[in-house]
């Protein structure tokens, strides 16, 4: 296989609040943070850290009372981790998004479904709703298979 991908277990926590509150957030070490909308952030960490993320994000937003909400969405999202030297090529088979050269959080369609993607130097993490995870996995499988075929020929 020219590239690796897997469905990775992860904690996914969504936070809602006033934009100025979200601007000030600092995620804990090892946690990827994406600004989904003016009033929404997404924090992603290792699967065992759901409680910690809920607590940390909740504490950071606690000063805003009922203007803020924190929700565990780990069951609602599936995370596909693309690794290896050809991760960008595999990603480009399924998305028109230009992969940034620096660490970034981007949003847009992947395999025809809305997706959120954390891009880093050695890894792409694509997040889609869990009801289409099997579909996205199938498209990834097909894309990798096609790529392998091309490399072989």
């Amino acid at each position: 296989m020219p590239d690796g991908w897997e469905i990775a277990e992860a904690a996914k926590v969504r936070g809602f609040g006033p934009p100025e509150a979200l601007d000030k957030l600092t995620p804990p070490p090892g946690v990827r943070a994406g600004r989904v909308a003016g009033d929404e952030v997404l924090w992603v960490g290792d699967s065992g850290r759901v409680g910690e993320l809920l607590e940390t994000l909740g504490a950071e937003l606690s000063g805003y009372g009922n203007l803020a909400t924190v929700v565990d969405h780990s069951d609602g999202y599936a995370l596909f981790a693309l690794t290896g030297p050809e991760r960008n090529e595999v990603f480009s088979r399924l998305s028109s998004i230009r992969i940034p050269e620096t660490d970034a959080f981007v949003q847009g369609n992947f395999a025809g479904v809305p997706a959120r993607t954390f891009c880093s130097a050695d890894r792409l993490e694509v997040i889609v709703t869990s009801d289409v995870a099997w579909f996205v996995g199938g498209r990834l499988e097909h894309a990798v298979h096609d790529l392998v075929g091309r490399r072989a020929s």
């Binding site: 203007l67 069951d75 609602g76 028109s96 998004i97 395999a111 025809g112």
Partner: protein, 896 residues
């Protein structure tokens, strides 16, 4: 000049075996074998020979191994191919439909044929249409040939260059030298392969080597661009991959081709574009003809003469059109004639050319007429790029000697990379000449006389002419005829406004594109699944589509599933419902505006049914409104409605400027409905919470723990029995499902699917939004005024509902069929009264509990009263309108 190496490979064509020489295209092999006619024309079945030899004209379209519309002049030949002519009935040489090409037949095939022929009597067209369809078209599609599942890939280079001729290669280098990443695409396997030998080819080899060595340039061979799209986006179709490029700038360097000329007999085989004849001679060592006449005008004419003479073709004369600035320098022995071509003699093949000049007309014997009169820019793509960062280079911009062209193209590439403005040629130029007879459009057999007739009929502008005559709309997409059409239009409408003869709009595709190529990477059908999908599969479920979701249709017996719910207990996966957590300081005001009923008075722990309306008062969706606490609500909407409901809510929230957090939890939460007379008994074995009638009454909700799983339990009655929807973390769906089945085993608990649920809810008279409603359905029309509170100050759709309150409209009624009939009409069946159509059925079932068919139907208001007699469906089933629910109308069972 013949090659001495004997070919060992061949392909079949029209009953012959055609030998293949190394490097042959199908076209070159056919021509070498003496085949002048390869196909027939679309309408008159005139003979079609080779014209451009570059894939630009429509003349050499053939069918290759079932693939239609193949330009055989550029398709490489291979052993064992089956090549068939197109637009031919029975025989290429003896085509009976060639009788269409007579003066008499032309009268029956006038311009605008489809608009004025076979209109009356009305019965005629349906009879004739199948016959026309049988003989028309471009080849016969092999219906057994399944589409390929091609993949696509996205690329984001700084610059895309289209065409890897000398100018394109130079432009790519110019852009790359500015630091830009470049993709350059060419249709050929070997860029420049269509060039003859000479300085241009030498320059190309040098440039190609530089391009291939450049780290920032990617050369895509055999990739054709079929359009420029906004973005910009340039799709490049490769042999088995669609490359979608999204560059910052585009350089089009697609070159130019010699213009088609219009005169009598201009489409006879043996009339060939000059470069086409040269390609045959220099690339394939095929003699294009014994004696040639050349129409001169381009700077390449001396090269063409030399190339033809090199393979043994005698050049009898070079025609220099009147008005040409100066004639080319001709070798000794070639006769120049200043004049114009008026006619080509011959039908199967050119026999002679008549030339008119000052002082007379002369007939010159020849078998080849080369058209090198002028160059037409290959601009179909460029014309699609208006308002895009598109540059032109090379012959497309202005034909020039190769060194000059290369130098300029480098500058163009640099400008594209730097994001500077573009220099573009005049687009859609008029042709220099257009004769008084002959064919303007050789794709569609549109003659000068046809255009004249169309203009006389009032279709005088190019845009109207295009649509009325189909000129420019054939396989060449106007390459051969656009300029001539403009020139002719201008001549036929002297003094008219310039727009009459303006250039027409160019649209994709600029090149042939197969449907499976367009859909590359987009063939998969998105399918949403709940966390219980595999469990359902294990239970032998069959599925149906519900929007993008796959839901269980049934598990083998709808009746068994139905009876389980009515008599015992059943469970159904309702995880597909749209589920939202909505909270914030403005949430009550927000929901009061969103729903037409009251929301603020719902107490925590309770719920209410709610309709979602649009501004027209039309029902958009429906579901439940659960109040969790003062500032937190949990909403459900129908399966497949989640995304639209989310967008609707966010749109209204932002419009109203309210502080409300809308969290779509559809995928995060699973939901299982347990329902039936024994539901409480089963559920009570799995929970220590109080779910008694008094402790957990109808229309209440709260979090309970079921089999150790926290669930928001919602006491509802969609199917008309005691029941709870258990909303839970999606990752625990399988666990909960298994626990419910195990707990209910002794009670005969049965999973049920959508079909059983549809009958169960129909017996209660509950609607399904989008099945029983349409784009005009207000609450008034379905007797759901109880869900609308007009006393509220404002809600979405209120003004429309007030206006429509007293408007008599169709009504959704419930009907019961006659006892004894076990056949339920089809959904959509006609509803009649006294033989007249008065409505249609939306839901229809045979009720096993009631013993007769029941259903819902739209009927005109005068037929909506209780007791109205109806006849339904093709069997005219007798039925009568009923009010209220069919089953448990008092609701005693679901409140139990």
């Amino acid at each position: 000049m013949a090659r001495t190496d004997a070919p060992s490979e061949s392909f079949g064509f029209d009953g012959r075996e055609i030998p293949i020489h190394p490097g042959d295209t199908i076209g070159s092999a056919l021509y070498r074998a003496g085949v002048d006619t390869v196909s027939r024309s679309f309408k008159y079945h005139r003979r079609r020979g080779f014209l451009c030899m570059s894939g630009d004209c429509p003349n050499c379209l053939v069918q290759v191994d079932g693939e239609t519309g193949v330009r055989c002049c550029t398709r490489p030949a291979s052993d064992g191919m089956k090549v068939e002519p197109q637009n031919v009935m029975f025989s290429l040489e003896r085509d009976p439909l060639a009788m269409n090409d007579t003066r008499l037949a032309h009268k029956f095939l006038p311009v605008g044929f489809y608009y004025k022929t076979l209109i009356k009597p009305r019965w005629l067209w349906p009879k004739v249409e199948p016959m026309i369809r049988k003989v028309a078209g471009l080849g016969k599609v092999d219906k057994s040939d399944l589409p390929r599942h091609l993949e696509r890939v996205y690329r984001h280079p700084d610059v895309v260059v289209l065409g890897a001729g000398p100018a394109g290669l130079a432009a790519a280098l110019g852009a790359a030298e500015e630091g830009a990443s470049v993709i350059i695409a060419d249709e050929g396997e070997h860029p420049g392969s269509r060039l003859g030998d000479g300085a241009t080819r030498d320059a190309l080899r040098e440039l190609l080597a530089q391009v291939e060595a450049h780290e920032r340039i990617e050369l895509l061979r055999e990739h054709r661009a079929f359009g420029l799209y906004e973005g910009p986006e340039v799709p490049l179709i490769g042999p088995d991959l669609l490359v979608m490029t999204q560059p910052k700038a585009i350089v089009v360097a697609t070159g130019a081709f010699e213009s088609m000329e219009v005169f009598a007999g201009n489409d006879v085989p043996g009339v060939m574009l000059g470069r086409g004849a040269v390609r045959l001679a220099t690339q394939h060592a095929v003699k294009p003809g014994d004696v040639a006449v050349i129409l001169a005008g381009t700077h390449e004419v001396p090269e063409h003469i030399a190339a033809l003479q090199a393979v043994g073709t005698r050049v009898a004369a070079v025609i220099i059109p009147d008005g040409a600035a100066s004639g080319p320098e001709l070798p000794a022995g070639v006769r120049p004639i200043v004049g114009e071509i008026v006619k080509v003699h011959g039908s199967k093949r050119v026999k002679a050319v008549s030339v008119r000049y000052t002082g007379g007309t002369e007939k010159i014997e020849c078998d080849l007429l080369c058209l090198s009169g002028s160059l037409t820019p290959q601009e179909n793509l460029l014309r699609q790029g208006t308002a895009m960062p598109v540059h032109a280079a090379g012959d497309l911009l202005a034909p020039a000697p190769v060194a000059e062209s290369i130098a300029h193209a480098r500058e163009v590439g640099g400008r594209a990379a730097r994001g500077e403005g573009a220099e573009l040629p005049e687009l859609g130029q008029k042709a220099r000449r257009c004769g008084d007879s002959g064919y303007v459009c050789i794709c569609e057999d549109v003659s000068v006389q046809d255009v004249r007739n169309a203009v006389t009929e009032g279709f005088s502008s190019t845009e109207l002419l295009k649509r009325y005559t189909t000129i420019t709309m054939g396989p060449c997409q106007g390459r051969m005829c656009h300029g001539q059409m403009r020139t002719l239009t201008e001549r036929l409408s002297p003094g008219a406004e310039p727009r009459i003869s303006s250039t027409t709009t160019a649209r994709p595709p600029a090149r042939v594109v197969m449907l499976d190529e367009v859909t590359a990477g987009a063939y998969a059908h998105l399918e949403r699944r709940t966390g219980l999908h595999d469990v359902h599969l294990g239970l032998g479920a069959s599925f149906l589509w519900a929007g993008q979701w796959k839901r269980v249709d049934n598990y083998g017996s709808i009746e068994r599933e139905y009876r389980a719910v009515r008599e015992g207990v059943g469970i159904i996966d309702v995880g597909t419902l749209g589920k939202f957590r909505v909270s914030g300081p403005d949430v009550v005001a927000f929901l009061e505006r969103l729903y037409p009923n009251h929301v603020g008075d719902i107490q925590p722990g309770r719920l209410r049914y709610g309709l979602l309306l649009d501004e027209h008062g039309v029902i958009h969706d429906d579901g439940t409104i659960c109040r969790i606490d003062d500032e937190t609500f949990y909403l459900t909407v129908t399966t497949s409605g989640a995304e639209e409901a989310e967008a609707l809510m966010i749109d209204w929230r932002d419009t109203w400027g309210m502080t409300v957090h809308i969290v779509n939890q559809t995928s995060a939460l699973g939901a299982i409905n347990i329902a039936g007379p024994k539901a409480r008994e089963v559920l009570s074995t799995l929970t220590e919470d109080d779910i008694s009638k008094e402790g957990f009454p109808y229309l209440r909700q709260r979090t309970i723990t079921v089999a150790g799983i926290p669930c928001l339990a919602i006491r509802l009655g969609f199917v008309g029995e005691v029941g709870w929807e258990l909303h839970h973390a999606a990752s625990r769906s399988e666990e909960l499902w298994a626990a419910l089945l195990a707990a209910g085993e002794s009670h005969g608990i049965t999973p049920f699917g959508i079909q059983a649920q549809r009958l169960l809810r129909l017996e209660k008279g509950h609607i399904i939004v989008s099945q029983d409603t349409d784009f005009e359905t207000t609450p008034w029309r379905i007797d759901m005024g109880w869900a609308v509170k007009l006393e509220k100050d404002w809600f979405v759709g209120k003004r429309a509902l007030v206006r429509k309150q007293d408007t008599p409209t169709e009504k959704l009624i419930a009907y019961r069929g006659e006892s004894g009939s076990r056949h339920a009409p089809w959904e959509g069946a006609a509803v009649k009264v006294d033989g007249k159509l008065v409505g249609r059925v939306t839901s229809s079932w045979f009720s096993w509990s009631l013993g007769h068919p029941i259903g819902l139907a739209w009927v005109k208001p005068e037929f909506a009263d209780e007791g109205q007699r109806l006849l339904i469906g093709k069997d005219n089933m007798s039925a009568s309108v009923v009010k209220g629910a069919f089953y448990d109308p008092e609701g005693a069972k679901l409140r139990a």
